[in-house]
């Protein structure tokens, strides 16, 4: 569907279908994201974005289709399994433990230990370095996550995934419920990841302007199918808006027949 690049895509899904009882959530999804590429996934509520993400992160099993990681076909058994292959999902509010400090969250379940005690100093230093390296600006990594803003939390969650060697990051509405400043911070972070070119990102978002701004490519998901796939520079806000509005009008017409 896209022009095949010279390198194998970091993640490719082919012919993915998923039904929940009588409801067909995904018909036949073909999608790929290259190494270091940022892909925007847009589409109306109920189009199947979340189902697709849940399949890619190993939560749901697809009824049909294949998933390839770096060209190798994989059958994702669980979220843990997907994560071990480098596919990591960042949920805004689920990821972090509010009661723990930033650096403990960064190392959650991968703590550095000098038995029997935690190596807090080392973890603190490394978390500081890594966050600084990623351009996440925090005054103090010892502060409890509960005291941070939504944007800061999101940034920490993303930074943690990158730190844990994630190769494909799935961001489910990373900009939802976030102020302009915060949103900019996250967008900067994603741009930064793009520049490094090590991590591929799939972003689900509703704000098309932001999607065009930060993504290399945009896919539109409608009624369980990818109906549109263009590079951001080859499309425009008007075109995306028109597509979605046309779908809405079409849907109305169909219903009114």
């Amino acid at each position: 569907m896209t022009t095949p690049g010279l390198t194998t895509p970091a993640l490719r899904v082919a012919g993915i279908a998923k039904r929940f009882g009588a409801l067909t959530a995904l018909r036949e999804i073909n999608l790929e994201v290259g190494k270091g590429e940022v892909l925007g996934l847009i589409g109306d509520n109920g189009a199947g974005k979340s189902t697709l993400i849940k399949i890619i992160c190993g939560y749901h099993r697809p009824d049909a289709g294949q998933i390839f990681v770096n060209g190798d076909e994989v059958v994702l058994r669980s979220v843990d399994h997907a994560r071990s292959l480098g596919i990591d999902t960042v949920y805004q509010d689920l990821a972090l433990v509010n009661e723990l400090s930033v650096y403990h969250n960064m190392f959650l379940n991968r703590e550095l230990v000098r038995w029997p005690l935690l190596s807090n100093r080392t973890m603190r230093r490394r978390a500081e370095e890594h966050l600084k390296d990623m351009g996440v600006d925090l005054p103090d990594v010892t502060v409890e996550v509960a005291k941070l803003s939504g944007g800061q939390r999101q940034a920490i969650a993303v930074a943690r995934s990158v730190y844990s060697d994630a190769k494909v990051l799935l961001l489910d509405e990373p900009l939802a419920a976030m102020g302009a400043k915060e949103g900019t911070m996250i967008l900067d972070l994603i741009r930064d990841l793009k520049e490094r070119g090590e991590v591929s990102v799939i972003i689900i978002a509703h704000n098309y302007a932001q999607v065009l701004d930060v993504c290399d490519r945009v896919n539109l998901l409608q009624h369980g199918e990818i109906t549109f796939d263009k590079r951001s520079r080859d499309t425009s806000l008007e075109e995306l808006t028109e597509l979605v509005v046309a779908e809405y009008r079409g849907g109305r017409r169909r219903r009114h027949k």
């Binding site: 994560r83 949920y91 990821a95 433990v97 009661e99 379940n109 703590e111 935690l118 944007g151 102020g179």
Partner: protein, 345 residues
């Protein structure tokens, strides 16, 4: 958005304000941040008040009394804190405390097991009750409140059947050095309590187990997502609590020279321990708690009971005061933690 703006502007505001107020704020901050601080002040306040009311309060004998009243509550409260932090509770621990010395008695007097073997055996059997609690809670997904209520009655039944509801003297083999060390010596129980408090304070604040306990209680979904095995943590904490309950039961039996199915355990010990944890600043909602705070909470409870006793209040009044004290400290805790959350970025 307005919220975001105010958050980011705060540092500038702080920089312009005077150094003195900044220092004051830091100190106040630090004070509010340390949950143990407020309960420590209460403990010292009570000490001064009772000392002023009666000279006997700080006599050596009475300090031993207070220490011996503090220790059992504090030890069980250590387990309760771990459980509360991981989002669970144990109502059965008091009856485990009553049952454990009987297990010791059965092992020694009926099966001729040597004391030094029977003691760890009794503790291990107590821990098994925690294992059962934990397995039912995590594998069968029954709330711990209900599960441990069930085990409470079940063990009470077992205890009354096996003991015929009669107290027995402690086994002859237990007497002597073991009895003194485990609980009969004037400072034995409080020494154990301090050791256990110190160990588990480190476990909760400086070790992986504690970090994962906080994670499991604070954000079960996030912790599981990160690969932490929540059921293992919870089952472990149930077992620690039951084992500590068993230890307390044996300590108390050694101290009073009798194994009594009707005292030294049951609901009183459980409720005191939960109260101590809560007074000490542990949230019932999970995710945060302090073991040192729980120890101080146990001290406060012991001081209240002992002090009012010395002054000459009746036991009935003490319960009323205790109840009110728990309510007030819980309300204050809620209010303070809301302040903590709202106050700073």
């Amino acid at each position: 958005m307005a919220d975001t703006a105010s958050r980011t502007e705060k540092p500038a505001e702080e920089a312009t304000s005077g150094k003195v107020s900044a220092l004051g704020r830091t100190l106040l901050d630090g004070f509010l941040r340390r949950r143990e601080a407020s309960v420590l002040l209460v403990a010292i306040g009570l000490m001064l008040y009772f000392r002023a009311s009666t000279d006997a309060f700080l006599s050596r004998d009475n300090i031993v009394n207070i220490a011996q009243a503090t220790a059992p509550t504090a030890i069980v409260a250590v387990g309760i804190v771990l459980l509360l932090v991981s989002g669970e509770i144990d109502l059965s621990v008091g009856i485990v405390a009553a049952f454990a010395p009987f297990l010791l008695h059965f092992a020694i007097d009926f099966y001729s097991v040597p004391v030094l073997l029977a003691f760890p055996l009794a503790i291990a059997l107590a821990a098994c009750i925690g294992l059962i609690n934990g397995l039912i809670v995590t594998k069968l997904h029954v709330p711990s409140f209900v599960v441990t209520l069930g085990t409470f009655f079940a063990i009470q039944g077992l205890l009354l059947i096996t003991s015929h509801a009669y107290p027995v003297p402690i086994p002859e083999e237990m007497k002597g050095r073991f009895q003194t060390w485990i609980g009969a010596g004037p400072w034995a129980s409080i020494t154990w309590a301090l050791i256990i408090v110190a160990i588990f304070h480190v476990v909760l604040t400086r070790m992986r187990w504690g970090l994962h306990t906080i994670s499991v209680g604070g954000n079960p979904v996030g912790a599981t997502e990160a690969g932490i095995r929540a059921s293992r943590i919870k089952i472990g904490n149930f077992m620690i609590t039951s084992a500590l309950g068993g230890l307390v039961g044996i300590m108390e039996a050694a101290r009073i020279n009798t194994i009594d199915p009707n005292i030294g355990g049951g609901t009183t010990l459980t409720f005191y321990a939960i109260s101590a944890a809560v007074i000490g600043g542990t949230a019932l909602a999970g995710g945060s708690g302090t073991i040192i705070g729980a120890f101080l909470g146990a001290l406060v409870l012991a001081e209240l009971q002992n002090g009012f006793n010395l002054i000459g209040y009746s036991a009935n009044t003490i319960y009323l005061i205790l109840g009110l004290a728990i309510l007030v400290s819980m309300i204050a805790n809620q209010y303070l933690s809301r302040l903590r959350r709202a106050g700073r970025t």
